[in-house]
Symmetry: C2
Subunit: 193 residues, 2 copies
DNA sequence: CCGGCTTGCCTAAGCACATTAGGTAGACGC
DNA sequence: GCGTCTACCTAATGTGCTTAGGCAAGCCGG
């Protein structure tokens, strides 16, 4: 009676566990328990707990990129901006463990083979709705990424939950502000009128 | 021959360890080794490894707030904005482990007794140089915090290190952009001309 | 249908860290 | 100098990670 374990099923189970108890508390032992299998058996499928965590991260990055692709389809400008922003925020709220996993630091090779580059491409797609050329586009990609990442982290960490106004409003207003900023992106030498 | 251990010395040693090996690899066992003391002995000073991690986080939050206070003294407007932003970024680069510790999720009571509120006050001090009233000021505080936090995390995570232009330039340009944004903060109903 | 081979899952064992219970001796108050 | 407190100890337990080596389930060729 073999359990039919695969790397993919391990990653999925790990992702579910992460959402339940937090990514940093994902243990290979608990995953084994959920498959009703001894811990050592998992070592035929993953090389160790680092490998498992990496696979969860890759899974999360893919899921996020897939959601992003759907959300961006047929949208542009501010519509696209908020759609992509909400993809990250909603995913983090639905799947905090996977979202945390998506932030795992990957080595260069793994990162390049991951869905990471798809995320960068998504940002650039959003920015096509604005009038930016290189290198400003890259700066804007990074700023956008920073806001999304930072806001979601802080909100999830409860940083905004102990004071008015509610974080939902701050999120909408921040996106308004970003949209305005991108429409009149300042150049250092000759600021726009 | 007593080692003269105190909670404060433990937190400092833990912080140094965090900077060397990463906050998530801080172990109470290694701290004990560094004091040349048995692990169990530390339990007279901290209640457990969670307690130790929390104390490291509190230490980092204080150090950051202290740096912020100095940096902000006598500055206003964009000068204050960049000074505060650089405090976070420089601290994270000098002390990655402590910076990671500063992001540890604290329970409400601990958070309120920490230097956390000083950070919020610092943001508001920076914003005094701009023409914002509540609730926009709070939205701006959150947006600023999101950018700082997000950019620093991404940069430290290597997200910007595999492509041109260098992240230093993006940082400066992002601060320029934030400054411009704060000077003409958009209101949702009646956007400024 | 059966013997062999692959391999998925097993037992066993070793190591690191966290934590608790209970002992001993150093430092300080009197 | 005597007693007390407490800083530090030894011992033991539990959890998780990892490797080495065994067994048998299930596919494959005959």
């Amino acid at each position: 009676m073999r359990a039919g374990i695969t790397k993919e099923r391990l990653a999925r189970a790990g992702a579910e566990l992460a959402d339940e108890v937090g990514f940093d508390r994902v243990t290979i032992t608990e995953v084994a328990r959920r498959f009703d299998v001894k811990v050592a058996s998992l070592y035929s499928h993953v090389t160790g707990s680092d490998d498992l965590r990496t696979r969860i991260a890759l899974l999360a990055l893919e899921e996020l990129a897939d959601r992003g692709d759907s959300a961006l389809a047929g949208r542009s400008g501010k519509d696209a901006l908020t759609a992509m922003a909400d993809v990250y925020r909603d995913y983090a709220r639905e799947h905090p463990g996977r979202y945390a996993a998506a932030q795992l630091r990957l080595d260069t090779e793994t990162a390049l083979a991951s869905a990471g580059p798809r995320h960068a491409a998504m940002s650039r797609a959003v920015l096509r709705g604005y009038d930016l050329t290189e290198p400003d586009q890259t700066h804007a990609v990074r700023l956008l990424g920073s806001v999304f990442r930072g806001f979601v982290d802080l909100e999830l960490g409860g940083a905004f939950s102990h004071s008015e106004p509610d974080s939902e409003t701050s999120w909408r207003r921040s996106l308004d502000a970003l949209d305005a900023l991108l429409r009149s992106w300042p150049t250092p030498e000759r600021p726009r009128p």
